[in-house]
Amino acid sequence: MKRISKILILSLSAFTFLFVSCEREERGFRVEPPSAGRIESKQLTPLQAGVPTANPPVHNEYEENAYAMAEGKRLFSYMNCVGCHAHGGGAIGPPLMDAKWIYGGQPEQVFATIVEGRPNGMPSFRGKLPDYQIWQLAAYVRSMSGQVPFDAAPARNDDMKAKPPENSIEEAKPIKNMPRIP
């Protein structure tokens, strides 16, 4: 009996330690935004489409947090992103369900797009949203093309089915060797 209980306790604690780093479910209500803070890209001209970034990609912790991405999803409809991007399918604005994005698909690039706005209609949300909410939005936007862990991505909505839920979208692969349009 003693041996059994020892084994049980050991395996239980191993199990616990294994998952202790799992912060997928944490609900940070008063959290600091991910490390990057505000992206200070000095734009001399609005025409900087497709400029590859030299900085190493920023790690957006919200992409592993189910709650933060659900908040991002809520903001996506609250801030009327749906109005132009539909539910990721695109209409007035470009679609977001693929990973080939005009201004880059890295977290900080998405962040910059939301903060700065982009020509031809994408408004700037600088000062209109706190940074942490923009990071939540960025995480959600990337989840629409399956670029986040699928077991943290939001599931379907309780409304009409406009698209498959984010957590069952396969990871979008950027198309290689596309002919460049000069």
Partner: protein, 670 residues
């Protein structure tokens, strides 16, 4: 009802064999000991299928969960002790109250009653083991995995936080991101599988394995209670399994069905119907076994035969039936047609009648009996004082207009605790004081028992009585805090104090158990002078329960036994053989071999549990788990029973240690 003169006719047809000699008795006892030897070691521990071992495991595990749920309750009470308290915050509080409710319902109350049934029913009906011993072991492990899943979830911050009912759309995919509700719904499915398994065991055991002579009108009332409970489990639990599976499917990756999505034709109220179709009978699934305890304890401690046996049995059955017709009273505030409300009000009030019959019968027993005022009886008296308040507030809640005010307030919290703690936990404590000597061979301390009772009684009323008033004053359920303007502070503080008294009382109970395990008075076979068959064997009973299956001659098997009553011989002592009897008269019909110990139930439980847990994270778990489960089942049915017994025989012969428990030969004086 003439129960004394009716003996099964088949008995007379059997030939009367010569009187047993001490030598044959001793020889057969040794053989039985070998055949029923309980395996040792880790593998042995995992493959044991003895109903007493499994039953005690279930009871102990359930009490561990009771303690954990109680700790959560204490933390919640600290949070609510003062207005605007910042002890837990909403996220933790919501996880705690959900886990508390789910624990107490699914991991404590139902399993502990099943555990009592699995331990006691085969002893009370006089057989060697439950009908499907391996299934029984499987049930325990599935339950354990479900329970560990819930608490692992809580520790890993994936504790469910949508209430023990998990209403959609709050628990649905949109408003509960992450895996929290998935953990809850898989826990539900696993524990319900365990409950269903227990119900099938108990029903089959009672139907087919009663001792000869125990016709339907002689079955002990606790066994009747377990039969009614098992029927209710079989009809109620599938509903919650369906609803929790639908919830899972709505939420899970790559499934995303629309059962509860209004926009695509689903219906959030459908969930409520399915849940409460289970949820209300659940209350009786917990309460009816407790009435069984009370009937048994009252017979023993008022020293008289059961008053109104037939009325008690019929009212249990009636409760079982009406219990299925009242679920909508949990939904009176949803948009429902008036007619439906009327019908469900009537049904909810009607259920008072069978419960009233039971209470009046018990009062008649107390009135006409001679009281042997020991701890079990004291707990039953506490039951009367508390449960009746809960029952009466239940009548109030059954009335639609009153329910509009009282629904989802602390009044309901008070009501349900009065019903469940008063109606189930008090009798359960009484039952543990009553049967502890049978399980361990030692008595629990009477003095500590009385202290335990008074602390529990006072603490309980201090916690929950003020909640009635809080509810009337507008305090709703499941609030993590309240603002000072409401004036709810004083009563909440009082309730928190009471909660700690309950905590002390449970500690005193644990202390009593731990102390008495080593130092308690040694109990004889029948320390209380009780009447049912489990007291006819030694304490604790041998693995095979009875060396010779006794013949039952009346409702009170020991009290009504004549001196020259025969016993059953001829069961093969080299095989795990049990006697199957007819359903109605319990006349001997055939013998059949029970399954032997096996590791496969544990492996199957691992495979099943792994499937349910894995599918939360990845759908690949279904094919893998399915194949593993099928393999485990093949092993289960393939493994030859005889081979295993042979090996245990050898093991016993090698083992120099005498398996006989060595107790001091001093009998307790009660």
């Amino acid at each position: 009802m003439a129960e004394n003169e009716q003996k099964p006719k088949e008995e007379k047809d059997e030939k009367q064999s010569p009187i047993l000699t001490p030598e044959t008795i001793e020889h057969e006892r040794r053989e039985l000991e070998k055949t029923w030897f309980e395996p040792r070691g880790v593998i042995g521990w995992l493959s044991n299928t003895n109903h007493k071992t499994i039953g005690l495991r279930i009871i102990c595990t359930a009490f561990v969960f009771f303690g954990l749920g109680g700790i959560l309750a204490l933390l919640m009470r600290i949070q609510l002790a003062f207005p605007e308290n910042n002890f837990l915050g909403p996220d933790l509080y919501n996880q705690f109250f959900t886990t508390h409710g789910s624990t107490m319902m699914f991991l404590f109350a139902v399993p502990v009653m099943e555990g009592m049934g699995i331990y006691l029913v085969p002893l009370m009906v006089g057989t060697r083991n439950v009908a499907f011993p391996r299934l029984n072991a499987f049930g325990y492990f599935v339950y354990l995995i479900g329970g560990i899943l819930l608490y692992a979830g809580l520790i890993l911050n994936i504790g469910p936080d949508t209430g023990w009912f998990s209403y959609v759309p709050l628990a649905g995919p949109e408003f509960s991101p992450g895996k929290r509700v998935d953990v809850w719904s898989q826990m539900i499915t696993l524990t319900e599988i365990a409950a269903l398994v227990g119900a099938v065991e108990i029903l089959t055991t009672v139907f087919k394995q009663r001792a000869p002579g125990m016709s339907l009108n002689r079955i002990p009332l606790f066994v009747w209670a377990m039969v009614v409970t098992s029927f209710m489990v079989i009809f109620a639990m599938p509903a919650v399994m369906t609803s929790s599976s639908m919830l899972s499917m709505d939420r899970l990756t790559n499934v995303s069905t629309h059962f509860f999505n209004q926009a695509e034709g689903g219906d959030p109220i459908l969930y409520q119907h399915l849940f409460w179709f289970f949820g209300h009978p659940e209350v009786y699934i917990i309460f009816i076994p407790a009435t069984g305890f009370i009937s048994m304890i009252l017979v023993t401690f008022t020293r008289r035969k059961t008053f109104g046996y037939t009325a008690l049995v019929l009212s249990m059955i009636a409760t079982g039936f009406i219990g299925f017709g009242v679920w909508v009273h949990h939904m009176f505030t949803t948009p429902l047609p008036q007619l439906g409300q009327g019908i469900f009000t009537a049904a909810s009030m009607m259920i008072v009648i069978p419960n009233g019959v039971q209470i009046f019968c018990w009062l008649a027993m107390l009135w006409s009996g001679k009281w042997n005022l020991k701890t079990p009886l004291v707990f039953v008296l506490g039951f009367f004082a508390i449960f009746i308040i809960g029952g009466l507030t239940g009548v109030m809640l059954a009335s639609v207009p009153l329910d509009l005010q009282l629904h989802d307030t602390f009044f309901v919290v008070a009501h349900l605790h009065y019903v469940l703690i008063g109606g189930a936990v008090f009798p359960l404590f009484g039952a543990i004081y009553y049967w502890f000597p049978k399980w361990t061979g030692r008595m629990l301390s009477e003095k500590a028992g009385i202290i335990n009772f008074w602390l529990l009684f006072i603490g309980f009323n201090l916690v929950f009585f003020p909640m009635h008033i809080l509810g009337l004053n507008g305090m709703t359920r499941r609030v993590y805090t309240y603002i000072p303007e409401t004036g709810w502070g004083e009563l909440n503080f009082l309730a928190t104090v009471g909660a700690f008294i309950i905590g002390v009382s449970v500690l005193s109970f644990i202390g009593n158990v731990l102390y008495s395990l080593k130092n308690g008075l040694v109990a004889g076979d029948n320390p209380w002078g009780a009447d049912t068959l489990e007291w006819a064997t030694s304490s604790p009973p041998p693995a095979y329960n009875f060396q010779y299956i006794p013949i039952v001659q009346g409702r009170h098997a020991i009290w009504e036994r004549t001196e020259d009553a025969p016993v059953i011989t001829g069961l093969n002592v080299k095989k795990r053989e049990a006697l199957a009897t007819t359903i109605h008269d319990a006349a001997p019909e055939h013998k059949y071999e029970l399954q032997s110990d096996s590791i496969y139930p544990f492996l199957l439980a691992l495979a099943t549990g792994g499937t349910f847990i894995g599918v939360i994270f990845h759908p690949i778990a279904i094919p893998i788990g399915g194949v593993l489960s099928v393999l485990a089942l093949f092993g289960w049915f393939w493994s030859n029973s005889l081979a295993h017994i042979r090996s245990t025989h050898e093991e016993v012969e090698k083992d120099p240690q005498n398996p006989e428990p060595s107790l001091k030969p001093v009998e307790a004086k009660i």
